[in-house]
């Protein structure tokens, strides 16, 4: 297919994306965008430096390969370079969404589905609303000079409704969404959306300012997912550790990070936003146990980081799209469920905070969660809604403060947005987990 230059490592990733966005302002259609985009990313490695090119001119990829090769310094024996040796050479074709391809569902069916749900927003308190349906199906092909040849597809779809709610002087913007893999899964969700809309309205109407302080915090599966991603997930991305002795010592495998019941997993095989059957270097998706029984047992790798740290590949080299090179990213990252019923967890909290939904989170030395809906927990009951700016904790300490995990468990996919890492945003990732009780976090 391509003539790969000698004594260089070369790979080519071609992405063909079909996307739909149907947007409404109140009940009026505002946009119906159906796009088919194709682009490619080419990499050449000479053992010292990488040369990358992204292009929309996919008919002239050989020229791009040759152009990059002319900048590189070919070396005999490059196949023995540890990074080159580490690349997998899978040959596979997994087109599992051809039958249920979201791009083949007629646009009018997508409009009808949306319009059915929009009627739920005709209620007192919602001043105006913006909603959208989105889907995307991507077919990725990957070829390398080592012989890898992989083609696979992935798809997601979802609905999001954002509403501006006003009750006198109490005003807020709240939202509800649901992601799925197949279009049919988005049907019949009236009860789910109705419940969430009712919760949002009640929250805005009755929320009181929080009394800032340190509280035991119960996180919902959504909040647990963001907490896991921000407080620990980024720390497991090994590109932050390459060539860094302090980090290598701090995050040495076998180190105790949390209590015995804490298990954290990253799994590229989970369908949804974080589905990575093959990563963007052609490595097969894997399930990586990052924390097992409270101890650090793994981390996430690209081929480069795995080779440099002399660890196994994990299939976590991901690019946000064809314009970027793959870097180490999470796929679907979650805390495994515990064995305590949720009711029992709540009953044991005297004075705490329940984080139900999340606006955003971040994770440096201090991780943050900005709640969308939060509530007091008083004497074993979830009670008054509270306005909270931000919940914070120290990334080095907080995992050890995870005291309890529920038997209830949920994995989710955001609709809109995603994970950001420097210039690459938004990358779709999966997240979730059980209800999680953290002994203490700062609530502002």
């Amino acid at each position: 297919m391509f003539e790969f230059p000698k004594n260089l490592y070369t790979d080519v990733r071609i992405e063909e994306a079909h996307t739909t966005k149907i947007a409404y302002k109140n009940k009026t259609i505002q946009e119906e965008k159906i796009r088919r985009n194709k682009g490619a990313f080419v990499r050449v490695f000479d053992g010292e430096r990488w040369y990358y090119s992204s292009t929309t001119d996919v008919d002239r990829l050989q020229e791009k390969i040759d152009e990059l090769a002319s900048m590189a310094n070919p070396k005999e024996g490059l196949e023995d370079h540890p990074i080159v040796k580490a690349f997998e050479t899978n040959q596979d074709k997994i087109l599992q969404y051809e039958e249920t391809d979201v791009s083949k569902v007629p646009a009018h069916k997508k409009r009808e589905l949306m319009e059915e749900y929009l009627s739920l927003l005709d209620v007192e308190g919602i001043a105006h609303h913006k909603s959208f349906y989105v889907d995307n199906r991507i077919v990725k092909s990957f070829y390398s000079s080592k012989g890898a040849a992989v083609t696979f597809d992935k798809q997601t779809c979802g609905i999001r409704m954002d509403m501006d709610v006003v009750f006198g002087k109490k005003k807020d913007q709240v939202g509800v969404s649901r992601g799925a893999v197949h279009f049919e899964e988005l049907a019949g969700l009236q009860e789910y959306f109705q419940t969430e809309i009712d919760k949002n309205l009640d929250y805005v109407k009755n929320a009181e300012p929080v009394e800032a302080g340190t509280y035991p915090v119960l996180l919902s599966p959504t909040a647990t997912g963001v907490f896991t991603h921000e407080s620990f997930g980024h720390k497991s991305e090994s590109d932050f550790m390459v060539g860094d002795e302090t980090m290598a010592k701090e995050w040495k495998l076998g180190k105790r990070i949390g209590q015995k019941h804490l298990n954290i997993v990253d799994d590229g095989n989970v369908r949804g936003n974080g589905y990575v059957p093959y990563d963007d270097e052609g490595t097969k998706g894997k399930k990586t146990r990052i924390i097992t029984d409270g101890e650090l047992t793994g981390r996430l790798h690209s081929t480069l980081t795995a080779a440099l740290m002399e660890e196994g590949l994990t299939g976590n080299a991901r690019a946000v799209d064809f314009e970027y090179e793959p870097i180490v990213r999470m796929s679907t990252t979650y805390i495994e469920k515990g064995d305590t019923p949720l009711d029992e967890m709540i009953a044991n909290v005297r004075n705490g905070v329940f984080i139900d939904t999340i606006k955003h989170g971040s994770g440096m030395s201090t991780f943050t969660l900005a709640p969308a809906r939060a509530y007091k927990i008083e004497d074993g009951n979830i009670t008054t809604p509270i306005n909270v700016s931000v919940v914070t904790g120290n990334v080095f300490e907080t995992l050890a403060l995870v005291d309890n995990l529920s038997e209830e468990f949920d994995l989710l996919s955001f609709v809109g947005g995603g994970c950001g890492k420097m210039e690459q945003f938004p990358l779709p990732v999966g997240f979730g987990g059980p209800y999680t009780l953290v002994r203490e976090l700062k609530v502002e």
């Binding site: 796009r35 913007q173 300012p209 080095f396």
Partner: protein
Amino acid sequence: MKKETVSIRTKETTARIRNTAVEAVRTKDIVKKAVRVYDEGKLGIGGSIGDVEESVWEKQAKDNLEAGIEYPYPLETGTDHRDYNANPMDAQTMLKHTERILKTLRDEFPEFTFSESVTIRETTTTMRNSEGLDLSYHDGRFELGFILKEKKSANLFDGFVAFEGRKFDPERFWAFNRKYLAAYNNPVDFPKGDKLPVFTLGGPETKRFLMRALNGENYATNSSLFSGKIGERLFHEKLTLEQNRNPKETHQAFFDNEGVRNENDRVALIENGVLKKPFTDKETAERYNLPHTGGASGAYDGVPSLRTAPLRFKTDSEDIKKTLKGEPAILVVVSSGGDFTAEGTYAAPVQLAFLFDGENILGKLDEFTMRSSLFAMYGEDYIGTFKSDELYLGDDVQLQGFYMDIKR
């Protein structure tokens, strides 16, 4: 049937940096184009990435008319071609600068590692239509963005070294960054007091919150914190907040997504502390009888809509050092994850901050939390918006000062 085309061409070269060395060089040449057709009050759009024949998108746009998207507004006219950087830096010069900077960092600051990227980016944006509109904006930028890590630290990263501008002056870069990096190695105590002068480079959460409050639709439907307050004084009398499309200051096209230009490329939304108007696109202005500000946003191939606007404070103060009159201040460099509650209460963790005398960065402070509220920050506790020439971080960088509650 009327026709309009939008195109964005981006050419860039990036040096990817890992552990204070160039790891990779990346080139990009991406074209994004869209065709809009207008017929009987409806709008259809076709487009995609790649240099495809215009007729392909035109057909797509005509098919898209069936979706029934209403757009009964007049199209813009007029010609305006602007080039803000006719001779942008080339790739070889960028790579030479990069290698020199990295060598200096390795030689003089071995206690840190620096990673991420240096980029030169050239962008050409055009909008043309069958009614005579012909707009084009060309610009070129040099962007240096390093995450900095102290070798002794177990954090993912500990700070940033950054610069964004049309020209790059290595002497000024080093005059500032040598002092800035030296301050990392000089831990200092907090000044006395719980309410201190804090200077920021403009937090994204503040702009996001103001954008929501100044959105014309939110304003008109009573869902803005500012609803019903046009003509009222909201903030400090010297504060002016503009919808600013002056590329010299905001580095983006001088027209909105409907091709609308403003006189002097700006519109005051809050002037001398008084709310003048929210930002609006054509639809919002007509529907709610508000002044039209040319505030339409959207993707190159999207329907113009009212979501974000380029908000920028007017520089209203000079000489931070003189203003502080010897009072020690805090310069916030990294504050990630903070936010406002619906009623405007603000709290944010500060991951990296320095002691600051208004001119010089004196030493590094421990992490802390800052608290305030929108109306206090821009009201009684507002110090001012300053142009910062000392901090060589880019073209037209502003520093904004407030008195904030500090919790160590």
